[in-house]
């Protein structure tokens, strides 16, 4: 039952099987941005920093205490909290 609900929720958010959020990515993964969820300033800021649809991201490392994460985007290094990375859908 729970699986069904989580699947239903995923479909509602537009996440299909292959897609997941950046939060779940491991260091060393290369990913492509599908979309950015949420609203408001954070979302806008992420897009201004160059995280837009189709952008390639490389997860460089996770901070020693497990959060935030360092990603390479458009040739520079960006630090993102996992809670923020959670709103970025990637494949």
């Amino acid at each position: 039952m729970e699986v069904f609900f989580s699947l239903k929720k995923a479909v509602k958010n537009g996440i299909t099987k292959k897609e997941s959020t950046l939060k779940k990515a491991r260091a060393g993964q290369s990913l492509t941005v599908v979309k950015i969820l949420g609203k408001g300033n954070l979302r806008k800021r992420l897009m201004e920093m160059g995280i837009t649809k189709g952008t390639k991201l490389y997860v460089k490392k996770i901070a020693p205490l497990g959060d935030p994460m360092e990603i390479t985007v458009r040739g520079y290094q960006l630090s993102l909290r996992k809670s923020e990375a959670d709103s970025i859908i990637v494949t």
């Binding site: 954070l42 800021r45 649809k53 490392k61 205490l65 993102l80």
Partner: protein, 714 residues
């Protein structure tokens, strides 16, 4: 009105360095995104009639932070004659995002392709002529740090000055988008006269602040909303991402074929090599603590204590020399006293810390300019977030071990208002250099066998920051969503000596100015209060005005175990500068042999627990006047300032109270029954306040509640 140039660019793109090159002035530059927080003005070295304004670094013209608002307002409302857009060539794509927005305005733009030397060194190539053609604005290759391209840039400025123009042609983003943009332009054409294109795009972006700034009537507003909706429907997306997308797509098109990157990326860059160690999973924290310890050891322990002692001797001799000189010219006794004891003694007591601070700031500047500070924020963010602070709060706290004044100013780099306020309120809890002599004196006098008592104040300070951070975070004033922590990690750079010195000077200046103004005035006033009675006759300290004030407030300290006028007076004089507390105790107890002095100090307190309580009270009470005035300036509102001071008073009093009462109860045979009851009562109130604060927690933020809500819906 003179001809005005605005320098605009991303944080950390080299704007301030370029500003210094253009104007010959010395502004402080750091390798920490967001160093310039106020706009700074200067004039071109060779053409004094041209004013240059250095704007804070911004990523975009949609404002979230105070810096971005300053920059955007200046560009749109003040209409500078030229914008020089500094582009970090090593980070072309993202920097061009701002460039495109600047090119949407009507103001002529000159793009400075900065750090071109790094690009050449890497063996990469940017075709600047084609870039200029594609962007529709002059492009000059520069390297601000090496002084390359400054003349060319001046040339372009003069060219535009001789032949001003208003941009007619704008970047053509996307066929479908432009259709809506030109419609929007038509809608607002009756309302705005300048920067129509910029307004049109902003309105399609549904930027509320821009919308409110121009007076749209309901009819036009509805028309615009229709356009926005149609645009969203056409692109099947929301307006925010449509515009970010079309801009970035346009950038990609502009750069096609003119930017040759080095594709063979097998070799690690220097930054990558350093980061392999500096932010390594296992090594990062040990390295961080070693760096921290080294900074502290060099600035406070070794070089610091040496210079403090040397300068202390110097000021004593200076006061004596001044005294004998004043004697010779027959100065009145009171004036001599005011100059030698009040002014030289008072200001000298603060100035002895200057070399120590200078060294501390020198080291911190090195960390900042090299790029390591951003890594500290990266490593420590996880820890700080739990106390309602961000990784960026670490730097002010670290500077706070030297002096709270530059520390509080340094909190400006924190983007989020809540985090910034919290940092400003909590930073004074970190023991500054001036508080150390107090701890050393009392620790030595009361706890001669426990060398850890004085250093334990650092732990008390940090502990209080953590506890108060958690407490405040859950109050109505600070609750809510965590602020975004989207932070650029800049490339490591070898800082230039000039840069470090400028940076260090900026910080030290704050402290020296404070010594020259606030402390100077406070020293004079306190000297008068200590030396005179209410009928303005020179008397011994125990009959002075200050002593009588002390006697009035002393009962307040009875529950803390040091309810005598000497301690009360010492706390009061501490507001001129905290090190005054030691000097005041020296005066009110009378100068004598060291052993006697220690015994007399110890006798001031009911028991050792009270002495420890006094140390904690000094540690946590509101800082000196200079720091208080900076707090007021940086908090920017009377309400917040009053809150901060009240909060610090309450915390310091409560902490000292509990240390004395509980300490007495457990270690020194208990106190009077009335005290026990009072303690219990206060404890209850305190617990109630904490519970009350936690009750205010917003349910949306708590995972449990959010989950519950979800189940209700489905």
């Amino acid at each position: 009105m003179s001809f005005v140039i605005a320098l605009a660019g991303n944080p950390n793109s080299g704007k301030t360095t370029l500003f210094n090159e253009l104007t010959g002035s010395t502004q402080y530059v750091g390798n920490w995104p967001g160093v310039t927080v106020e706009k700074k003005e200067g004039r071109l070295t060779k053409y004094r009639e041209i004013a240059v304004v250095d704007l804070p670094g911004i990523y975009s013209l949609s404002p979230y932070t105070p810096e971005e608002i300053i920059s955007r307002d200046f560009i749109i409302k003040q209409q500078p004659d030229i914008i020089i857009n500094i582009i970090d060539a090593t980070n072309l794509e993202r920097n061009l995002y701002l460039t495109l927005q600047l090119l949407e305005t009507d103001i002529p733009v000159v793009a400075a392709l900065n750090m071109i030397d790094v690009i050449k060194k890497r063996g990469e190539y940017i075709d600047k002529d084609k870039l200029s053609q594609n962007l529709g604005c002059p492009v000059v290759e520069t390297s601000a740090s090496k002084g390359i391209g400054i003349d060319k840039l001046t040339e372009e400025i003069l060219k535009i000055k001789a032949q001003p123009f208003i941009r007619k042609k704008y970047a053509y983003y996307d066929r479908r988008f432009e259709y809506f943009a030109s419609d929007a332009e038509k809608i607002i054409s009756g309302i705005v006269s300048n920067n129509k294109r910029w307004y049109a795009v902003k309105l399609l972006e549904n930027d509320q602040i821009v919308k409110n700034s121009i007076k749209l009537d309901e009819c036009l507003s509805a028309k615009l909303m229709q356009k926005v909706q149609a645009l969203e429907k056409q692109f099947d997306d929301d307006c925010d991402s449509i515009i970010a997308d079309v801009r970035y797509n346009y950038i990609a098109a502009v750069l096609k074929g003119i930017y040759i990157k080095k594709t063979d990326r097998k070799a690690l860059s220097v930054t990558e090599k350093i980061d392999r160690i500096a932010t390594n999973k296992w090594l990062a924290l040990p390295i961080f603590f070693i760096v921290l310890w080294a900074v502290y050891y060099i600035s406070v322990q070794t070089v610091g204590s040496f210079t403090v002692n040397a300068l202390d001797g110097f000021f004593k001799n200076f006061a004596a020399a001044a005294g004998s000189l004043l004697n010779k010219i027959n100065t009145a006794n009171w004036l001599k006293g005011l100059i030698c004891e009040g002014i030289i003694g008072g200001v000298g007591a603060v100035l002895v810390f200057v070399p120590q601070l200078v060294i501390l700031f020198l080291l911190l500047s090195f960390l900042e300019d090299s790029g390591y500070m951003s890594r500290i924020a990266f490593i420590m963010d996880r820890v700080f977030r739990h106390f309602g602070l961000s990784g960026k709060s670490f730097i002010p706290m670290l500077i706070g071990t030297g002096c709270s004044v530059p520390a509080i100013t340094g909190a400006r780099t924190i983007e989020n208002k809540k985090d910034r306020r919290m940092t400003i309120i909590l930073t004074p809890f970190i023991p500054c250099g001036a508080k150390l002599p107090i701890f050393a004196l009392i620790g030595g006098a009361v706890f001669p066998d426990y060398s850890l008592v004085a250093p334990s104040m650092y732990f008390m300070g940090i502990f209080t920051v953590i506890i108060c951070g958690i407490m405040l975070k859950n109050t109505r004033m600070f609750k809510g969503e965590d602020a975004p922590f989207v932070m650029e990690l800049p490339e490591y750079r070898m800082p230039s000596a000039k840069g470090i010195f400028i940076h260090m000077w900026e910080r030290s200046k704050d402290f020296i100015i404070k010594a020259g103004t606030v402390i100077f005035a406070a020293s004079c006033i306190i000297w008068v209060l200590v030396k005179f009675n209410w009928s303005f006759e020179m008397v011994q300290t125990k009959h002075s005005m200050l002593a009588s004030i002390g006697k009035i407030i002393a009962p307040l300290f009875l529950p803390l175990g040091f309810g005598n006028w000497q301690c009360a007076v010492a706390t009061l004089t501490g507001y001129a500068a905290k090190e005054n507390i030691v000097a005041t105790l020296g005066i009110v107890l009378g100068h004598q042999k060291e052993a006697d002095f220690a015994a007399k100090v110890a006798a001031l307190f009911d028991n050792p627990a009270a002495a420890y309580g006094f140390m904690v009270f000094v540690l946590l009470a509101p800082p000196c006047f200079a720091a208080i005035s900076v707090m007021k300036r940086e908090l920017g509102s009377l309400k917040w300032f009053t809150f901060a001071i009240t909060f610090q008073l309450v915390i310091s009093y409560t902490a000292a109270f509990f240390i004395y009462q509980i300490g007495s109860l457990f270690f020194y045979g208990g106190t009077a029954m009335s005290s026990v009851i009072l303690t219990l009562l206060l404890a209850l109130v305190f617990i109630y306040i904490i519970i009350y604060m936690f009750k205010n927690k917003n349910c949306k933020n708590c995972a449990k509640c959010a989950y519950k809500k979800c189940t209700h819906k489905s």
